[in-house]
Subunit: 363 residues, 2 copies
């Protein structure tokens, strides 16, 4: 398994987030990724590389995110600091947003207004390095998906011997991506790396691509991006949005719309769910991917399902993550695994590498 490492990730280092009504130090910190990297040195599962940015990255970004959103995010920090030099020492957070009966067709000139228009929470500080870090992650996701597609083509041309493993890659990046929608950031996410990977697999000629999101939090951004498409199946296993972030999406009755009707599956589980019940949901998700006839898989891998996660509520143990990797590998599909959430910083590395080891061994 090739590992694509976003070396710009550390440029995104938020100071504070609004959490339960107060400003607290950010949960989504650079150390999360460093712990995975350190664990990958102890237990290598494949070569780690930091790929150059693809020349056509902007064109791929524009397949997933709206032009006005991309323009805003790219220039937001400079706008923020231009308002007041003192802002250089202060992350930007939204504080006003378009509620029901408000308009979003007219783009305000005011910066604070656009911050709110393009977001859905005040937990995602926009910092000096947010854009280069997010862009570096997008580059890794695109490159990883292309590598998997190329290896799949090569294996197919060579009529790969039975029993050889399909191509796979791991995108080691932060900030995460699965909460970022067509034109909004939030949930610590700016660019949707998993959606970009899925789109690149589609671009490469794989007709049906599945995104399986195992992060504790519903992959609302990914769902929104593909909700009306039949060529990308989205499946998410997550804490019930009635009580768990992001709250306003992720219910079981959301099955897709228009041409995408039937191509979204949400498997919400109650807070406190342990591995046995969680794995039953995973089996259901895997069966849906199989029934869809997926030719490639993207896994949005959050490990905030861990029992020790400070902002989540499932009861998975570190040893369970190896089984998750084996269950995913059993699909036998070309696979891009993208790093998403997981905030028990010290354990994130072990849990992620357990998945990757299980995946590499399994199938």
């Amino acid at each position: 398994m090739q590992i694509f490492h976003n070396e710009q990730h550390h440029l995104h280092r938020g100071r504070h987030e609004m959490y339960r009504g107060r400003l607290v130090p950010c949960h989504e910190v650079p150390d999360r990724l460093e712990h995975v990297l350190a664990e990958l040195k102890r237990r290598p599962v494949g070569p780690v590389m930091a790929p150059p940015e693809p020349a056509d990255l902007d064109a791929v970004l524009a397949q997933i995110h709206s032009p006005r959103y991309l323009h805003f995010i790219e220039h937001a920090w400079d706008e923020w600091v231009a308002l007041d030099p003192a802002h250089a020492e202060l992350d930007a957070l939204p504080s006003v947003w378009p509620g029901r009966a408000f308009r979003t067709d007219v783009l305000p000139h005011n910066f604070a207004a656009r911050m709110g228009l393009f977001s859905f929470d005040a937990g995602t500080p926009l910092t000096a390095g947010s854009w280069p870090a997010a862009r570096g992650g997008a580059a890794c996701a695109v490159t990883a998906a292309r590598a998997v597609a190329a290896a799949t083509r090569a294996a197919s041309a060579a009529s790969a011997a039975a029993g050889s493993q399909p191509a796979s890659a791991f995108v080691l990046t932060r900030p995460p991506g699965h909460h970022a929608g067509p034109d909004f950031f939030g949930g610590y996410c700016f660019l949707n790396n998993a959606a970009l990977a899925a789109q690149v697999l589609r671009n490469a000629g794989l007709q049906r691509v599945a995104v399986l999101d195992v992060d504790y939090h519903h992959g609302n951004g990914t769902q929104s991006i593909f909700y009306e498409r039949a060529d990308v199946l989205t499946v998410s296993i997550h804490g019930d949005p009635l009580t768990e972030y992001p709250f306003f999406l992720g219910h079981a009755d959301e099955r897709g719309a228009g041409e995408g009707e039937g191509f979204n599956l949400n498997l919400p589980l109650p807070r406190g769910t342990g591995f046995a019940k969680w794995r039953a949901a995973l089996r259901q998700g895997v069966a849906e991917v199989q029934a869809f006839g997926a030719q490639a898989l993207v896994v949005a891998l959050g490990v905030d399902t861990f029992e020790g996660d400070p902002i989540s509520g499932f009861g998975l143990k570190s040893a369970d993550y190896g089984q998750i990797g084996r269950d995913l590998a059993a699909l036998g599909l070309p696979t891009v695994i993208v790093f998403e959430g997981g905030y028990a910083v010290a354990e994130v590395g072990v849990n992620v590498v357990n998945v990757l080891e299980g995946f590499s061994a399994g199938g």
Copy 2:
């Protein structure tokens, strides 16, 4: 002119608001009202009374706000403190909200989620006293409108002598109301006092009621409440939402919808507008009220159009407010004036009473 004073106003005393990306002390403070009260003692324009709550207040509230919103606001503080006793010392602010492509039909159990579902900014702290203060203001607005309606009926029955002034009242309350919509708070507002007054005038048999909003900020809540109704005309003169709060509503092309088509008029003006141009917009608004054939008027009176206002951008001077009062009185309509914004605390009293004096003298 009778003045209805909300003696519970001081129970709403927010500590901090999110403003331009940081937590700052609240602009909307109890002293604002106390300055008006003090100025009214120096320059009385009518009797000041603190009315008891009408027995049917809940029924009137339900004509303007949705049941699930009212239920939430009434119980929000108790919910917040039940989550953590330490919250008693911390105002509640929203930090996550339903963006585009999110659902609002399913009400989350999570408190933070409902805070965001029912709001549009993080500038409106919900405190221990927010509900009783807002409810006290609503009671004043309802009582004031009933007093004006009753006096109007009595004068009509007596075939009032030509030249006698129509009935009028001033609602001296805070928190303000004009940003509060059918099911959202924000802009320092929880219950829409001006909308309640307009509804009560309608309930009393006045067939066409106009709301004229002269606050610096667009009366988005009032507009949303009456947008599809032909019996209440809404007119707002305000800073252009392209650059001014509340940003996402208040453009000139919003003229109402459905049966309400043609019964909303927005008069946005650029930052820096002085009194001459502002008064031209007022004349246009007044002409619209006349053309509508209004039988009663509600004025949403913000004095944040004042040149010294710390969060606004017009150039009105204290002396201009007397002229505004005379221009409003010239409509010759039964009138309820409701106190809204104005954050140059020391000058708020002078500016408001200048309007009231001008109104009483004019016509």
